[in-house]
């Protein structure tokens, strides 16, 4: 590492990136080899050693106390004491320090805000400020963009650039190729615990991807033209509130046909989650109707919706998708455990559950040592495959996949995408919601862009990304045309599917 360098550590999930960095941060002891800082070998017994050696780390999952303020979180572990009397915290000095650091690096945070009220992107910023107040020279960012919206990602990249300008070195761990190319000075690709290559940011995406996974990966989804059939899911005038009773879905009309993939694009938090939960019967609808195959499903329980032939991959697999303590086999029947052949009357049929688990583990390439392993011990990609396997192994009319590949390695992404397309090809209506625009554009036959609880436009996936990006920001072609003052001559209205 050079001072003032952004070094990207690229690798498939499970390649050993995080382990390496945890060793560097003193959380894990090396079995062999040594770490050199300024030519000196360094022995790290814990994170405090790392911090005093000038190494700071921002974890993938934030280490913040939700009910504390920004200042309190930052002073935590390095409390300032007033007047040398222990027990008296010098909040004012800590606050001043926070303000000073955040101004110096252009990291705007409100020092008095309570963490749980802040959006994820700002929380991450707090983590970075926290590291910076400890005077670190080397900052490790472990998958920092996994939880961020595209906007927040952009802001983070700006922050990283300014830190770099201030002479800080950054190790940027990720498996997203686009970000690496955008920011890194040097790229090290890790695979299976070994460095497989160092590349410059000029290397093409395909080259990097191939280095990462060790074979050529399709970045685009191969698929035949869709043959849409009759409408399966029809949504009319749907209105839904979020948990805070704030309008999240504000009058949506949407139709998904058999044999097509409708992709919903949009910056996260524009009502996508609530829309899907409303369809699934997980959230009450305030107005409007949802029709499945000609039958109104308003007010149905989740169980009834699932039974009616809807498959659902929830966006947060660890919260909503899986019971981590349960075995893989049990998770594979989580929503059909009480149906034949898995149960007869009140009794479960463990043999049937085991047999079907075995088949599906094989069919969906779930890498686990046994079907009896708790699903929490599997990797993210394999956990996601368990959910996909569960949902796709019964006959479906409608398949809803929310963020189907979030936090999933490239190999698994490819597999899951092919499964989605396969489901479409056998005539299921598919609704994909993702905050990854690449994913939506790759999978979808039609793209609905959601903005502030409304569908702001339905476009073809061949629409230029810039135009969809504008839509995601709430700017329709008409509005854009108005802004451009008649200059934009040939802007198409939304919904028109042919595009230059």
């Amino acid at each position: 590492m050079e001072p003032g360098e952004i070094h990207a550590l690229l690798g498939e999930n499970g390649a050993g990136k995080s382990t390496l960095m945890n060793v560097l941060y003193g959380l894990y002891q090396p079995d062999e080899g040594e770490i050199l800082v300024d030519g000196e070998p360094l022995k790290l017994r814990g994170p405090s050693d790392a911090i005093s050696a000038g190494i700071g780390m921002v974890h993938q999952h934030f280490m913040l106390v939700p009910v504390f303020t920004v200042t309190e979180n930052i002073m935590l572990g390095a409390e300032q004491i007033r007047g040398g009397i222990s027990g008296f915290l010098d909040r004012r000095r800590a606050r001043r320090e926070v303000v000073e650091v955040s101004e110096r690096y252009g990291l705007r945070v409100d020092p008095d805000a309570v963490i749980e009220d802040l959006p994820v992107g700002i929380q991450q910023r707090v983590e970075i400020v926290k590291a910076l107040t400890r005077d670190v020279d080397l900052l490790i960012l472990d998958e920092p963009t996994a939880v961020l919206t595209p906007q927040e990602t952009e802001e983070l990249l700006t922050v990283m650039r300014s830190l770099k300008a201030a002479g800080k070195s950054i190790v940027f761990i990720t498996h997203k190729l686009g970000e690496v190319k955008a920011i890194a000075d040097r790229i090290t690709v890790i695979r299976r615990g070994k460095t497989v290559g160092t590349a410059s940011p000029e290397a093409s995406r395909d080259e990097l991807a191939a280095l990462m996974v060790g074979r050529n990966v399709r970045l685009t989804v191969e698929k035949a033209t869709a043959k849409p059939g009759k409408p399966v899911l029809e949504i009319a005038g749907l209105v839904v509130d979020d948990d805070r009773q704030i309008r999240a879905v504000d009058g949506i009309d949407l139709t998904v046909h058999a044999g097509e993939v409708l992709g919903v694009a949009g910056v996260q938090g524009n009502g996508q989650t609530e829309l899907i939960e409303a369809i699934m019967g997980l959230r009450p609808t305030l107005a409007g109707s949802v029709t499945l195959d000609g039958e109104s499903i308003d007010g149905w329980t989740t169980k009834r919706v699932l039974r009616a032939g809807v498959g659902y991959v929830p966006e947060d697999r660890s919260v909503d998708g899986l019971v981590k303590e349960f075995s893989v086999a049990e998770n594979l029947v989580l929503d059909i455990y009480d149906r034949p052949p898995f149960a007869g009357g009140l009794a479960l049929k463990p043999e049937a559950i085991a047999t079907s688990a075995k088949q599906r583990i094989e069919q969906f390439d779930v890498r686990t040592s046994s079907a009896d392993m708790p699903v929490g011990t599997l990797s993210g990609g394999n956990q996601q495959k368990v959910i996909v396997a569960r949902e796709l192994s019964r006959p479906l009319k409608l398949f809803i996949a929310a963020q189907p590949t979030r936090g999933v390695d490239v190999g698994s992404i490819e597999f899951i995408h092919s499964q989605v397309i396969h489901e479409r090809d056998i005539g299921t209506a598919v609704l994909v919601v993702s905050s990854e625009l690449d994913e939506v554009l790759g999978l979808a036959d039609r793209v609905a862009v959601m903005y502030r609880g409304r569908i702001i436009g339905i476009v073809s996936p061949d629409t230029p990304r810039e135009e969809i990006g504008l839509l995601m920001a709430g700017i329709t072609p008409e509005a854009a045309a108005e802004q451009a003052g008649g200059d934009a001559t040939s802007t198409e209205p939304p919904g028109n599917e042919d595009e230059a």
């Binding site: 998708g321 929503d335 011990t377 599997l378």
Partner: protein
């Protein structure tokens, strides 16, 4: 599928995983024995494991072996602390310590005599009394005397099995049922009322009385269940309050006309008809009754319910991750209600045992004893597994039975048994504390592990 690769990049994690797994084993369900996971499976045919440090291996193995090891160690520790308490609380023995430097033998001998006799009596009162056995061989007493300790132990065990199962079942569903006491109280009340107020033929009468007890508990469990499901009221608070209401309902009810024994002025109800009493298993001189058989049956039923039934699946899913359960179409509210109804039903059966068995045959303010609260300890000691709970109840039953003899023969107060029970549970809980500290390391390791394992 062709490349079901081993994962050579995982070895740093596998140690951690081993630790994790063995930790998990202590807590996990009935099938805790099945996942022979650990490092071996984590790297199937992969590169050789780096040697884990001895300390870590030791700890991992200790946990892997744990349940039995820890329980036995806790018992031993509790017995040691109990011995110290006995010595301290006996003025005569304690006085010998004032000149321990001059004549240590006095102090040691008197302490040893006191403690060894006390524990011998504890054993004789609960398991086996050699004097009774030789008496039987010589013909000075009947065979009943030989079985008396066991009979006493089983008599105390039966109700604890029910309340222990009640708490354990709720726990597995993610609910903390502190209300075993109140549910058992209602069970006692309804069972007794059915027992002396309903003129029914033998057999049917017993059945109705037992079911009435179960119903009483189920109602008392349903209330917190439905309140939690409908309003989100916390079950701990509701069940504690219902304990009070149950207790005072009992004391009020006893002195009402038609309930109170007309020949008595003190607070005692009419006696349960003999036709509604649980039959004694070993003749009239021994107290053990059919309640213990019901307890075994209940243990089997709860084990089946938890592990082999759709309801148990729902219950465990809701207990482990209510969000995922809801998303998978399981009605969390309904499951909460069902859990509490079943938990209440079990405690109610425990209550029925107290008044339909041989412990008492009429309602008194103290008829329920502490079985509801003891049930919490029993459930924890039994690690929330049905058969574990049954064994824990057996241990507690033995301590209680032996404690009676210890009190009358060695003059050690019965409360010491309560202290012993508490100590055992504390020592069982202490490893959990140690584990919590250990978990900090495991959590780090787990982070590594998850990030490592993702591509696997």
């Amino acid at each position: 599928m062709s490349e079901q690769q081993s994962s050579p990049d995982k070895e740093p994690a596998s140690k951690a995983q081993a630790a994790q797994e063995s930790l998990g084993n202590t807590e996990r369900a009935e099938d805790a024995t099945t996942p022979q996971a650990g490092p071996a499976t984590a790297t199937p045919g992969g590169t050789p494991e780096p040697k884990p440090s001895l300390g870590r291996l030791f700890v991992a193995n200790l946990w892997a072996a744990n349940t039995v090891t820890v329980t036995v160690l806790s018992l031993v520790l509790a017995i040691v602390v109990g011995a110290i308490l006995m010595i301290i609380s006996d003025p005569e023995v304690l006085s010998t310590y004032s000149y321990i430097t001059a004549r240590p033998s006095d102090a040691l001998n008197s302490s040893w005599t006191l403690v060894s006799e006390a524990y011998a009596n504890l054993f004789k009162g609960s398991v086996f009394d050699p004097e009774a056995f030789s008496g039987w061989l010589n013909g000075t007493n009947g065979w009943q005397a030989v079985l008396a300790p066991i009979s006493e132990t089983l008599t105390y065990t039966a109700p604890l099995v029910f309340t222990g199962l009640s708490v354990a079942l709720a726990f597995r569903g993610g609910l903390f049922n502190i209300g075993g006491q109140g549910q058992a109280t209602l069970g006692v009340v309804l069972a007794a009322l059915a027992g002396f107020a309903l003129p029914l033929p033998p057999g049917l009468h017993l059945l109705v009385a037992v079911l009435a007890g179960a119903l009483g508990g189920a109602i008392w469990g349903f209330i917190p269940g439905i309140l939690k499901a409908r309003t989100g009221a916390h079950e701990v608070i509701i069940t504690i309050m219902l304990n009070y209401i149950g207790t005072y309902l009992l004391t009020w009810l006893i002195v009402q006309n038609g309930v109170q024994d007309p020949n008595r002025t003190d607070a005692i109800s009419k006696a349960v008809d003999p036709s509604a009493q649980l039959p004694r298993l070993l003749g009239d001189n021994l107290r053990v009754h059919a309640g213990i058989l019901l307890a075994v049956l209940a243990t089997w039923a709860v084990a089946w319910l938890l592990n082999r039934s759709t309801l148990g699946f729902e219950l465990r899913a809701v207990g482990a991750n209510p969000d995922a359960a809801r998303t998978a179409g399981i009605s969390v509210a309904r499951t909460f209600v069902l859990i509490m109804v079943f938990a209440g039903l079990l405690s109610g059966l425990g209550g029925a045992n107290m008044v339909l068995g041989s412990t008492a045959s009429a309602l008194t303010p103290l008829v329920v004893a502490q079985i509801g609260f003891d049930g919490i300890l029993v459930a924890l000691l039994g690690r929330l597994k049905p058969w574990g709970v049954a064994l824990a109840a057996l241990l507690f039953g033995a301590l209680q039975a032996g404690g009676n003899r210890m009190q009358s023969y060695s003059g050690i107060s019965l409360e010491l048994v309560t202290v012993l029970q508490a100590l055992i549970v504390i020592f069982i809980a202490a490893p959990a504390l140690v584990k919590a500290i250990f978990q900090l390391r495991a959590a780090r390791a787990a982070r590594l592990q998850t990030s490592l394992a993702k591509g696997w």
